[in-house]
């Protein structure tokens, strides 16, 4: 079934009706997944924003499909997790081929201790549609303006003025903070003359989405198939993935020097696809040719202009870290920006977003580059090593782990950065860890945690008074929680569900207050003993 893009209408903004709405707290440039998620996270904290997008439809064509566990958990906090889970496809069986031969297969068993699976496959246009629907729940807090192109910006010490162009005319608007969520070709980044350094991979990939009612797999279970040196085409790798609505994503790595425009023609694409799926009927939904870059900004925060998502960092899609990385930016920035705007934290708190998420981007770029390198050997010797790994991977676990067709996106640890307290114990989970989910009676831990600072205590001995304005959550006899977090433990949890500080039961209330001060970006006072 071909996805029907809903067209969102242009609505005359107050500025073009002769009204003067004054300075907005936040303006967001770009209504991609990152810009929209950003507005929802801020709205959940009572912060008003305007989103400007130059288009009037959600994502078109073949883009993100794979959303990882942490992303699903964040989307769940934002209110679209259940819809994604319901619509998305979760594959369990992965098969890896070298030429004709199946090297190995694996079965990802569901983890009953977590609400969210390791990932789901769901077309980016569905995710964006769900976000746009969710935005409609906040009519007083989110003003989403389609067909509104940002053409320039003036950055001052106390705000940013944007120049906006629409079919009905031009106008300016000013906001305390502007979030540049304008994607990998960010014009804001270019106009500001910021360096966006990285590595460009030579190879081109032919990315197709095909509509195929009959599954190519032996059973009803969706699978993921990956080929090194596929027998059906001359490139070095190929990938097949299932999406909802019987849409299959097929990526074919093209030979160096292949002519991308020529390769995208149906007369070349169709015979190759037939070699993969046999005589099953299919229709091509979308074909595009991509080459990939891994690059990032040196700084994400430039005074009142903050870069979030692809505008700040891009990766090759192997390991699916683009959108997944961007959603973690949102999670990290939302509560900090809200605290700054409410006057609860100094503007410097945003520096911790810069530090923590640059660290995440470096890790994502490293993993994506490694996968891309493994799939696209640059020299004869690299190809020899890749083939040697594959030939041993049949029966040797160590070699199997070296095979790299993309490492699943997992969140990075924030240990050691300024907001986290140093380790006070070797028990339980260390500060900086993203909170793992756990089953509760009739629910899930992560649905109870987050959105604000929280005190999580586990075990009879761990009772302690929560600092002011911190919500307390206490568990006794909850083996699911204790299994991850340990018993008789005290945790301070950040609004983005990361552990800010961890103590054993019996710690001083003072230590907790200190940890909270630190986690809010205020200079922590020396301990008074």
């Amino acid at each position: 079934m071909h996805y029907q893009n809903r067209e969102y209408p242009f609505q005359t903004p107050p500025e073009l009706k002769g009204e003067s709405p004054g300075q907005y707290p936040v303006a967001i440039v770009g209504a991609g997944p990152i810009g929209m998620a950003m507005a929802i996270d801020l709205a959940l904290k009572g912060i008003r924003s305007v989103i400007l997008d130059d288009n009037n439809v959600v994502s078109v064509g073949s883009r993100a499909i794979c959303w990882a566990k942490r992303t699903l958990e964040i989307f769940d906090r934002l209110g679209i997790g259940d819809r994604m889970l319901e619509k998305g496809v979760t594959w369990k069986v992965g098969r890896l081929f070298n030429g004709e031969q199946e090297v190995y297969n694996f079965n990802l068993l569901p983890d009953d201790a977590h609400k969210m699976p390791a990932f789901v496959n769901l077309q980016q246009y569905y995710v964006e549609e769900y976000l746009a629907d969710r935005i409609a729940d906040f009519p007083d807090l989110i003003d989403l303006r389609w067909l509104s192109k940002v053409t320039g910006e003036e950055i001052a010490d106390d705000g940013v003025t944007l120049h906006v162009e629409t079919a009905e005319g031009k106008y300016d608007l000013t906001a305390d903070y502007v979030l540049a969520c304008d994607g990998c070709n960010s014009h804001i980044r270019q106009r500001m003359g910021l360096k966006f350094d990285g590595h460009r991979f030579e190879e081109h990939f032919l990315i197709t989405d095909v509509d195929m009612p009959e599954a190519p797999f032996e059973s009803d279970e969706p699978e993921r198939w990956f080929w090194f040196k596929p027998p059906f085409h001359t490139g070095q790798s190929a990938l097949l993935h299932k999406q909802p609505d019987n849409i299959y994503r097929i990526d074919l790595q093209l030979e160096p020097g292949a002519d991308p425009a020529e390769e995208a023609k149906p007369e070349h694409v169709i015979p190759r696809l037939k070699q993969i799926v046999g005589d099953r009927a299919f229709e091509i939904d979308w074909v595009s040719v991509y080459s990939f870059t891994c690059a990032m900004l040196e700084k994400f925060v430039h005074g009142r202009m903050v870069f979030v998502g692809d505008s700040a960092h891009v990766v090759s899609p192997f390991g699916a870290r683009g959108g997944n990385g961007g959603i973690q930016d949102v999670d990290n920035l939302g509560w900090k920006l809200a605290a700054v705007l409410k006057g609860e934290a100094p503007p410097d708190l945003l520096e911790s977003y810069d530090e923590e998420r640059r660290h995440g981007a470096v890790e994502n770029i490293m993993n994506s580059s490694r996968a891309t390198n493994f799939m696209t050997p640059k020299s004869k010797m690299e190809a020899v090593f890749r083939d040697a790994v594959l030939s041993l991977a049949n029966d040797l676990p160590f070699a199997r782990r070296l095979v790299n067709s993309g490492r699943l996106s997992v969140p990075c640890s924030l240990e050691g950065f300024a907001l986290q307290s140093p380790r006070a114990t070797t028990r339980g989970l260390p500060p900086g860890t993203p909170c793992p989910d756990a089953p509760l009676e009739g629910g899930w831990l992560l649905n109870e945690l987050g959105g604000e600072f929280m005190l999580l205590t586990i075990g009879r001995r761990a009772k302690i008074t929560a600092p002011e304005d911190v919500k307390a959550l206490h568990f006794e006899d909850s083996p699911g929680v204790a299994a991850h977090y340990g018993d008789d433990m005290i945790y301070l949890i950040r609004p983005d569900q990361h552990i800010a500080a961890a103590f054993e039961a019996g710690t001083d209330a003072e230590n907790l207050t200190l940890a909270l001060t630190r986690a809010k970006g205020k200079p922590a006072l020396e301990t008074i003993s």
Partner: protein, 65 residues
């Protein structure tokens, strides 16, 4: 001498780090220079492993291709 080899993954979390380091060491070398690098590396690692039976089993397993 039928020592079983490599059944547990001893590189564990460092597998990808090691592979990247190895590929980086080969960068910019022609094929013969790369082969020579491999030879030196095998000799060094053999000395690190030390145990003769293990080395013999490794040679046997690698020869199977």
């Amino acid at each position: 001498m039928s020592k079983s080899l490599g059944m547990d993954d001893r590189l564990q979390p460092h597998g990808d780090d090691f592979y990247e380091l190895l590929m980086t060491a080969h960068e910019g070398l022609d094929f013969d220079q790369s082969a020579a690098l491999n030879a030196r590396l095998i000799l060094l690692l053999a000395n690190e492993v030390g145990d003769f039976d293990t080395l013999a089993a490794a040679i046997e397993r690698a020869s199977k291709s």
